[in-house]
């Protein structure tokens, strides 16, 4: 599973970081980036979905692999 944060949509609510600190990092302005180039380590898929489902800006999504 791979995820990404759209930097144009992220407004720094920090919900993803609070719910899944192993998957995201946030800067001093609260803007989020997916760690590990978005690759979700096995076992953390549920956390990733939680982060996606709780972002008020709909900024996080799953990257569709070909």
């Amino acid at each position: 599973m791979r995820i990404k944060v759209d930097p144009d949509l992220c407004e720094g609510h920090n919900r993803c970081f609070a719910l899944a600190p192993d998957l995201f990092e946030v800067d001093d302005y609260g803007l989020s980036q997916a760690l590990n180039e978005g690759v979700v380590p096995p076992g953390l898929e549920e956390k990733a979905r939680l982060a996606i489902d709780n972002c008020p800006e709909f900024a996080i999504s799953v990257v569709e692999e070909d």
Binding site: E11, G12, H13, N14, F17, A18, L19, V26, D27, D28, Y29, G30, L50, D53, N54, C55, P56, E57, F58
Partner: protein, 411 residues
């Protein structure tokens, strides 16, 4: 503000809503449900006139309509013509803005970037020990009595002190800060003359602080703002005072409303109270659910150019209430929205707003709620209202309980 409509009962919420109506203040959800179905962009002439959306999807779009919807007036009830003159004079003396909340792009972002680092997750974490000690000392003050006002003796005491601590101003003046903020955001909402009086008091307070810190800089927030640059230039006193004003005012009755509403909820829902006590790991989702269900803040916007939205035509000068609390009850966005589910998994609530003006202090507010509730639940045993009729609410653009008398046994 003596016009007749303000005191008349509401017959049609779609065309004549009143956000200060006492029944609406106590429980606005039935009105929102009706409007969402029947008239999703409601309108009123009361209190200077405004539009009120209720659908989640509409709020998502409205927050992005920048700068057609301007942030320059966040409070919707306008001053009378005489008071407008006072405001103009005040603007000449102080500058009229509290950036970034009252700013639009492009001015908005550099000011926002000035204040966001005060509220980053790391910065907020450093304020946990202070908040924790504060909550404990407040509880020490009433635990022996077996009863307390969870709003006035606890929630209301926490937020002014925490924001004073963050700003580096004297927490001992917390009672003054509460009076000032009520003067602006509670009583002052419908009484612009009061708003103006308290704005003056707060600005004079910070002006004195700024003058003092210019002479004796420290490592506090005010000194940081004094040293900060926006587009290569230092801020003048007006702007430093304006930003400090915002940080003080925005951080007090908002979070206090959320903590009070949460304690009122648990006092009146013993099953949820027992559940959070038994499953303390639910604290984080429970705080989000309290934020969704009892969202305190409705921001205002001013229409700058003619725009059609949701089947209505809005004209320049019209006001729009960004009804985040109403959107948070939309069944199109939340499963069983009128039910509190402490373990709600999908909770994209917009209690802190959305878009470029997302509440800059949201991390601080969440921390305060979590620490306040955790400490309360750790130290206070089962609690209930002493008198349901004694509960009072403040409403309008900041809504929350102001009196929540409870009795409890020892934990």
């Amino acid at each position: 503000m003596t016009d007749a409509p303000e005191t008349c009962p509401v017959h049609d919420w779609a065309s004549d809503y009143d956000i200060f109506d006492p029944d609406y203040v106590r429980d606005p959800a039935p009105v929102w449900d009706e409007l969402r179905e029947r008239c999703p962009m409601a309108h009123t002439e009361r209190w200077g006139g405004s539009w009120m959306p209720t659908r989640y999807e509409d709020l998502q779009q409205l927050v992005k309509m920048v700068p057609t919807l301007s942030s320059r007036s966040a409070v919707v009830v306008p001053p009378s013509p005489e008071l407008r003159e006072v405001l103009v004079a005040e603007a000449k003396k102080y500058g009229s803005e509290n950036p970034p909340i009252t700013a639009d792009p492009p001015e908005h972002q550099p000011f926002r970037r000035l204040i966001l680092p005060f509220f980053s997750p790391r910065a907020v974490e450093s304020h946990i020990p202070y908040t924790q000690d504060l909550c404990n000392s407040l509880i020490d003050g009433f635990i022996e009595k077996g009863q307390a006002d969870a709003a006035a003796d606890y929630a209301q005491q926490i937020t002014p002190r925490v924001i004073a601590h963050v700003l580096g101003i004297d927490p001992a003046r917390a009672d003054d800060f509460v009076d000032w903020v009520r003067g602006i955001l509670e009583l002052g909402q419908t009484r612009p003359e009061m708003r103006i009086k308290y704005r003056g008091i707060i600005r004079d307070f910070f002006q004195e602080m700024v003058t003092e810190r210019r002479k004796n800089p420290g490592d506090d927030a005010i000194s940081t703002l004094i040293e900060a640059e926006v587009e290569g230039e230092k801020l003048d006193d007006y702007k430093v005072v304006g930003v400090c004003f915002l940080l003080l005012v925005a951080g007090i009755d908002t979070t206090w409303s959320s903590i009070s509403a949460s304690l009122l909820h648990f006092a009146t829902h013993p099953e949820d109270q027992a559940r959070l006590r038994a499953e303390p790991e639910l604290l984080q989702p429970a705080v989000e659910e309290m934020l969704r269900f009892y969202s305190p803040v409705t921001m205002g916007r001013k229409v700058m150019e003619p725009v059609e939205f949701g089947g209505v035509e809005m004209k320049p000068g019209d006001k729009v209430l960004l009804n985040f609390p109403g959107a948070n009850r939309d069944p199109a966005a939340f499963e069983k929205p009128d039910e509190v589910q402490l373990d709600r998994k999908r909770n994209r609530h917009m209690a802190f707003g959305l878009g470029i003006h997302r509440c800059a202090g949201s991390n601080l507010a969440r921390m305060e709620m979590q620490v306040a509730l955790r400490t309360w639940f750790e130290r206070i045993g089962p609690f209930e209202l002493t008198d349901p009729d004694a509960v009072t609410w403040a409403g309008g653009q900041v809504r929350g309980p102001r009196t929540v008398p409870v009795r409890f046994s020892a934990a």
